[in-house]
Each structure stands twice: as structure tokens, then as C-alpha cells.
């Protein structure tokens, strides 16, 4: 009895989000898409690089959003999946001479398998305990990558330098711009796939588990399968993001994938709005740009300034970007009526 009670109370940890509220309307989507396509034509390569990183972290946050917002499971271990994806791409490119675009599905598949397997023991855990188990995974990963046994492939502490791809077919664009559009295409594909996933039977199963595990299983949802599946899908997408990240940064090293990254991604999800997929990009922007803003305000106290900014966001808009979007929508609605 007490177990049932526990599950019921824990389910409330992630607020139920109706699936229609998980996406943007068509009009808004098109405007955002147009902005993402057109902006790089007018800005410097450095900004394009930052926008590429924005999309890549956006993907990783989206993956976490499917896991937490969709199926209600916590993870502080996303950096581990991100690292596995990054290393898979880097090793295949540098040691096996594989084309960069082909390494991404491999990275995704390997991470899917990894996540699915990790989901098995994680089944026994929920809430904060699951968060801690994944936390252990994130802390262990950088050290595993440094292990002597793998050093031949991973390059150990020194990491691996990755060659950046040129634009194909002699297209007259810089490496950065090509990589950006490449990343954008993948991001859009994964975003659409994720939205469809959450609207499908499986997505409904995820959300049923999130809202009430017992009720879900009573309705015939295979809780164990769908929980591990959510882990697998989330890890797979994170892996693709990791692979893209390795190509964009041109370097992988254990120090790039510490627990700090996992916490940043978690932060991105909360700031973007748990369970609201478009918020992933907003969350990603937060984790990339706000530390820079904080540093601009005070170099010595950048961490503290970042903390204050984060506190303000959580205090003023606890539901993150989703809340801002809803308020904006209501305002526009009011204006239209007038």
C-alpha cells in the first residue's frame, strides 16, 4: 500500500502536460524556422558557430525533455550519453576514416542501446533515487574515458582532434555555415520525429506512465518496456547531439563531458519548461549565453552572478519559457479582442 502511495505522490513531481501544449502552433513554428534559416546569412562565422552549438545543446535538452517531460523519469546522466556519442563519432571519423554524416546514426544507435540497457536497472528506481543513479553514471564517464585500456582509441586524457568537414558539392559556403545547416536539418528532423513520437501510441504510453504508473499498467501499458524505451530514445538523441558537438568543436576530451554538462542540460530543460519541446532551444540559449553575460558583469563573481540570474528566472517564471509563451499568447489574444 505504501508503495502505491509513493508512486502516486512521486508522479506529481513532473506536472502533467497535455500533449497539445507540447508544441508550437504552425504560424509560430514557421517564423522560428525562417529566423533559423536566414540569420546565418547575415552574421559572422563566430555567431554561426554559437548558433550551431545552440542547436546541438537544444537537441540534448530536447532528449532530456522527452525522458523527463514525456515519461516522468529524471536523469542527471545525460552528459555520459553525450560523451559516448561524441567519442563514437570522433573515433569513427579519425580511426576508421568514416564520413562524418554516417557516424551520427551509429552514435545514435550505440547510445540508444546504452541508454536502453541502463534503463533496465533504472527501472527499480524512481524520482530522486533514479536521479542519483544517473548522476553516478555522469561522474564515472570522464574517468572511464581516461582508462588505459581504451587509450589507443580515445586518446586518453589528451583526447582526440577531429577534422571539420568542408561543404560538399563545392557549395560556396564556409565550413561553419555548412555545419550549421547540416545541424539544422538534423535538428528539425529529430524535432518533428519527437513531436510525432509523443503524439503516437508510445508517446501516450510515456505520458500515462508519467501521470500515474499504476493506472497506466492497469490499462495495459507495458511499464517496464516503455520506461526503458524512453531512456533509449533519449540517450539516442543525446548521442546524435554529442556526435554533432564533436564535429563542431573539432575535439573530444574527458574534461568536456563532466557532471557540469549534465547539470547544464538539466538546467536548460527546467528553464525551457519541462515537457515543452520548443522550450529546449530557449533552455539551450540560457546555458550558452547566460554564463557569458554573467562573466561580462563580473569576472571574479561570474558563478555568483549566474546563480542570481538563475534564481530570478526560477522565481519569476517557475515554468520556464513555456510560461512566458503562454503569457504572451494571452496578451496577444487580449489585443486581438480589443
Amino acid at each position: 500500500m505504501s508503495a502505491a502511495e509513493e508512486v502516486v505522490t512521486e508522479a506529481a513531481a513532473v506536472e502533467a502536460v497535455p500533449k497539445r501544449a507540447m508544441t508550437l502552433g504552425y504560424g509560430t513554428s514557421l517564423v522560428v524556422l525562417a529566423a533559423l534559416i536566414l540569420t546565418p546569412l547575415f552574421v559572422k562565422n563566430f555567431i554561426i558557430f554559437q548558433m550551431t552549438m545552440l542547436l546541438i545543446y537544444g537537441l540534448a535538452v530536447l532528449a532530456l525533455n522527452i525522458l523527463t517531460g514525456g515519461s516522468g523519469q529524471f536523469s542527471l546522466g545525460q552528459s555520459a550519453f553525450y560523451a559516448v556519442g561524441a567519442y563514437t563519432s570522433a573515433i569513427l571519423m579519425e580511426h576508421a576514416g568514416m564520413n562524418y554524416a554516417l557516424t551520427l546514426p551509429v552514435a545514435g544507435l550505440i547510445c540508444f542501446g546504452f541508454g536502453f540497457l541502463f534503463g533496465q536497472p533504472a527501472l527499480r528506481l524512481s524520482g530522486v533515487y533514479l536521479a542519483l543513479a544517473t548522476f553516478a553514471l555522469a561522474t564515472a564517464m570522464p574517468q572511464l574515458l581516461k582508462l588505459g585500456y581504451f587509450e589507443h582509441w580515445t586518446g586518453g586524457v589528451q583526447g582526440l582532434v577531429v577534422t571539420k568537414p568542408d561543404a560538399p558539392f563545392g557549395l560556396p559556403m564556409s565550413q561553419d555555415m555548412w555545419l550549421y545547416y547540416f545541424t539544422l536539418a538534423i535538428t528539425i528532423a529529430i524535432y518533428i520525429a519527437s513531436v510525432n513520437l509523443l503524439r503516437s501510441r508510445s508517446g501516450r504510453a510515456f505520458m500515462a506512465i508519467r501521470d500515474n504508473e499504476i493506472a497506466a499498467s492497469a490499462m495495459g501499458v507495458d511499464v517496464a518496456l516503455y520506461k526503458t524505451l524512453a531512456f533509449g530514445v533519449s540517450a539516442g538523441i543525446t548521442g546524435v547531439a554529442g556526435g554533432l558537438g564533436a564535429i563542431a568543436v573539432q575535439f573530444v576530451a574527458p574534461d568536456g563531458y563532466t557532471i557540469t554538462l549534465a547539470i547544464s542540460l538539466f538546467l536548460g530543460m527546467v528553464v525551457g519548461g519541462v515537457g515543452w519541446l520548443p522550450g529546449s532551444i530557449v533552455g539551450s540559449a540560457f546555458i550558452i549565453f547566460v554564463p557569458n553575460i554573467a562573466e561580462g558583469i563580473s569576472k571574479g563573481l561570474s558563478g555568483a552572478v549566474f546563480g542570481v540570474l538563475l534564481f530570478l528566472v526560477i522565481f519569476l517564471v517557475p515554468h520556464g519559457a513555456r510560461q512566458v509563451a503562454i503569457i504572451a499568447q494571452q496578451l496577444i489574444g487580449k489585443l486581438k479582442k480589443n
Binding site: 586518453g156 583526447g159 582532434v161 568543436v249 575535439f251 568536456g256 557540469t260 571574479g300 561570474s302
Partner: protein, 409 residues
């Protein structure tokens, strides 16, 4: 006929004008980041994150260039020092360096810290032909002018320091039984390699034990007990400060008295010798290339007097015992020297050329006799160290300046 003459005259005049104007150009040449009034220098350092203690280096360098600017700048140009936080994360380092290069448009990237961060940005900077000058890491791979002509180290490499210990042992204790205790990462392994290279053919017979530990281990006591069982008479401690202190302490607790040599990285009096206990640390050996800010023997040293005056005016309240301040001052002074040597030719190529032409340069904070020498084939500026022995509550230097240049393979 007349028209041909006129053409000849006009072309002669044009040629004359062109020649004179190129001559004028030859006097002042600039790349992005340098103008008549300003030189823009970029830097990344961890101000936040696990390695944020090194942030002091960036602050020292900023203060040093503020002092240079107050004194009128270098050849009449002010230094605009732009420094960003990379949190010791390679992806962040790439982002910040690209910002420095593409958005701030700096002339050179100076003293970026950490082996992972520098590896991450090396290819990018070399591809763009932007100097990655005086990197703040002791890895050996920065001295590789053939493959990376835009990257240069500054401090002695770990391998060259280890070679110095090996050379000293060969000379003073040729029948030593050596145990090497090292940190299991690139830092520790570089030292191990240097030791073996330095001992040469005798390495196999002299080294009786190699024992490594992981940074994540809370205590290394077990390792020391194991090493003692092998009964060596020399213990080489290639460990970071916390573990260095633990090693010295544990050795004393076991009542074991081997000859101990500790890496320069962990030679700090405040953070290693004192926690290990001054009594336990008597007779421990190490090597140094810079003066210790807290050591009274330099009170009358003209170089350290200048350093102290700088500290009082530009970094009031700073901790004198912090080796990072001595380090940052020395590195910044070397850069100032290079920029001064560049004269009015502030192109990136000339910055590298001048950095590779330092002759017997002695920054205020380096030990007397330690000189910076570079050439087109030698990109390792500081390559000399002096042996020191811990006595009482401070290090006592002894012996000759020893050189240990190691070319990258």
C-alpha cells in the same frame, strides 16, 4: 617622341611614388588587432569551475598590462588585454577563443591555460595563422615548430624537469634503487617518460618499482606501504599538491627515510610542505625555475622588488605565497618583451618570429641564471631549472643551473 618621353617621365614618377609609399608601409605593418595606438591580446583561463584557482594568473596578467599602459604602453601603443573564462572545458575554450579571434579580433592568443583546452584550440589557431603564444601547460607537445608553427610553450615541460632529476641521480647516486610514484594521467606519465629517458640505459636496472594512483582516490596510504615493501632508497613523487603532501606525511609516519624528490608542481611551501609537516619534509628535494614570492632570501633582489612594487600598486591584498602571481607576472613580462621587439611590424608572423628570437632574456621573477632562449627550432622558452632542498621552513637552492630541453616527438 615627346609623348614617349612624357610617358617615361610619368611612369618614373609613378614608380618613385610607389617605392616611397611601400617604404613607408615597411616601417609600420599591422595585422588585425594592432593599430597605431593599441595592441589587442586575447586570453582564456578558468575563472570558474574545478581549476578556478588558476584564475589568479589571468588577473595578474591583466594587472601587469595595466601597469605597462600606465607607463606609456609598448612602443607608444596601449595593450588591450581581453580575457575570458573557459571553465577548464574544451568546448567552452573553443567558443571563447573563436570569440576572441572573430569577434574581438585580437592579434594573438596569449597564455591560454590547460592541456585539454590548448589541444582543443591548437588546430583552429594554427589553421588561421594566429599565434597561440606561451601556453600555460607543461606538456611536451607544445615545442613542435614543424607541425604547429603558431604554438609556443613557456614553462619547462614536465619531461625536461624529470630528466633533470634523472641526470642528478645518475651523477650523485648512480647505484640508487628508485621507486616512481606518479599520477595516472598525462601529467604523471610525462614525468615517468622523462625519468626513463634521462636514466637512459640504466633505467631498467635503477627503477625497482613504478606505482600509480588515480586522482579520484581519497588517500594514497596503501600505495606508500606497498612501495616501502619493495625497499627502494629513492622515492620520486610525481603527484599533484594534495597527494604530494600525503606522500611526505605517510612516509614519515612509516618511519621510512628514503631520498624523496617531489615535482615542482607540488613544491609549494604553503600548500604542500606545511600540511605535510615541516619536520617530515626536511631534506626533500625538488627543482625550481622561478623565485618564491614568500621566500625572504629574495627581499633584496631587484627583480622581486619590482614584483612587490607591482603587487602593492596593482594587486593590493593579493596573497604573496600564491605561485600563480609569480607565474603570471613572468609570462606577461615575456610577452611585453616580444611585443617590444616587434617594433612597428605588428604582424602575426613577426610576433612569432620575435617570440622565436628571444636571447638570454631574464624576467624579474625567474631564478638568477635561468634565461629564456628560443629559436626557429626551439619553441620551449624556459628550459632551465635549479635543484633545491627543503630545510627549516623554506627551500634552499643548490648546485648549478641544469638545462633539460626536450624536443617534441
Amino acid at each position: 617622341m615627346l609623348s614617349t618621353l612624357r610617358i617615361a617621365a610619368v611612369s618614373a614618377a609613378v614608380v618613385a611614388i610607389v617605392t616611397t609609399s611601400t617604404a613607408a608601409f615597411a616601417q609600420k605593418k599591422y595585422d588585425t588587432g594592432a593599430t597605431d595606438t593599441e595592441i589587442k591580446i586575447g586570453n582564456i583561463i578558468p575563472y570558474s569551475g574545478p581549476a578556478s584557482a588558476y584564475g589568479v594568473i589571468g588577473k595578474t596578467e591583466e594587472a601587469y598590462f595595466r601597469m605597462i599602459n600606465d607607463q606609456g604602453g609598448i612602443n607608444g601603443r596601449k595593450i588591450n588585454f581581453v580575457t575570458y573564462d573557459d571553465a577548464y572545458s574544451p568546448p567552452k575554450a573553443v567558443e571563447q577563443v573563436r570569440k576572441l579571434v572573430e569577434s574581438d579580433e585580437v592579434l594573438a592568443v596569449f597564455n591560454p591555460l590547460g592541456t585539454p583546452s590548448n589541444t582543443a584550440i591548437q588546430k583552429y589557431l594554427n589553421g588561421k595563422k594566429i599565434p597561440q603564444l606561451f601556453v600555460a601547460t607543461g606538456a611536451t607537445k607544445w615545442n613542435d615548430p614543424k607541425n604547429f608553427p603558431w604554438t609556443m610553450g613557456w614553462q619547462p615541460s614536465y619531461q625536461s624537469e624529470a630528466q633533470i632529476y634523472a641526470k642528478w641521480l645518475l651523477k650523485e647516486k648512480p647505484d640508487a634503487k628508485i621507486a616512481v610514484f606518479y599520477q595516472n594521467d598525462d601529467f604523471g606519465k610525462d614525468y615517468l617518460k622523462g625519468t626513463k629517458d634521462g636514466l637512459g640505459a640504466k633505467a631498467a636496472s635503477m627503477i625497482v618499482m613504478e606505482e600509480s594512483y588515480e586522482v579520484s582516490e581519497p588517500s594514497i596510504d596503501g600505495h606508500i606501504v606497498k612501495i616501502k615493501a619493495a625497499n627502494p632508497d629513492v622515492l620520486l613523487i610525481y603527484a599533484t599538491p594534495k597527494f604530494g603532501a600525503q606522500t611526505i606525511k605517510k612516509t614519515a609516519e612509516l618511519g621510512w627515510k628514503p631520498l624523496q624528490i617531489i615535482t615542482n608542481v607540488s613544491a609549494s611551501v604553503g600548500s604542500v610542505m606545511q600540511p605535510a609537516g615541516f619536520d617530515n619534509a626536511q631534506g626533500v628535494l625538488s627543482a625550481a625555475y622561478a623565485k618564491d614570492g614568500a621566500d625572504p632570501q629574495w627581499n633584496d633582489d631587484p627583480g622581486m622588488k619590482k614584483w612587490l612594487a607591482f603587487l602593492d600598486k596593482y594587486m593590493p591584498g593579493a596573497d604573496r605565497t600564491d605561485g600563480s602571481i609569480v607565474y603570471g607576472y613572468g609570462a606577461a613580462q615575456t610577452l611585453a618583451k616580444v611585443l617590444e621587439m616587434c617594433g612597428n611590424d605588428l604582424t602575426r608572423a613577426n610576433v612569432m618570429k620575435q617570440a622565436a628570437s628571444l636571447k638570454d632574456f631574464e624576467p624579474d621573477t625567474l631564478l638568477p641564471g635561468v634565461k629564456i632562449n628560443t629559436s626557429a627550432a626551439d619553441f620551449a622558452p624556459v628550459a632551465q631549472l635549479k635543484m633545491q632542498r627543503f630545510k627549516g621552513q623554506k627551500w634552499e637552492l643548490f648546485g648549478e643551473i641544469i638545462s633539460g630541453d626536450v624536443p617534441a616527438d
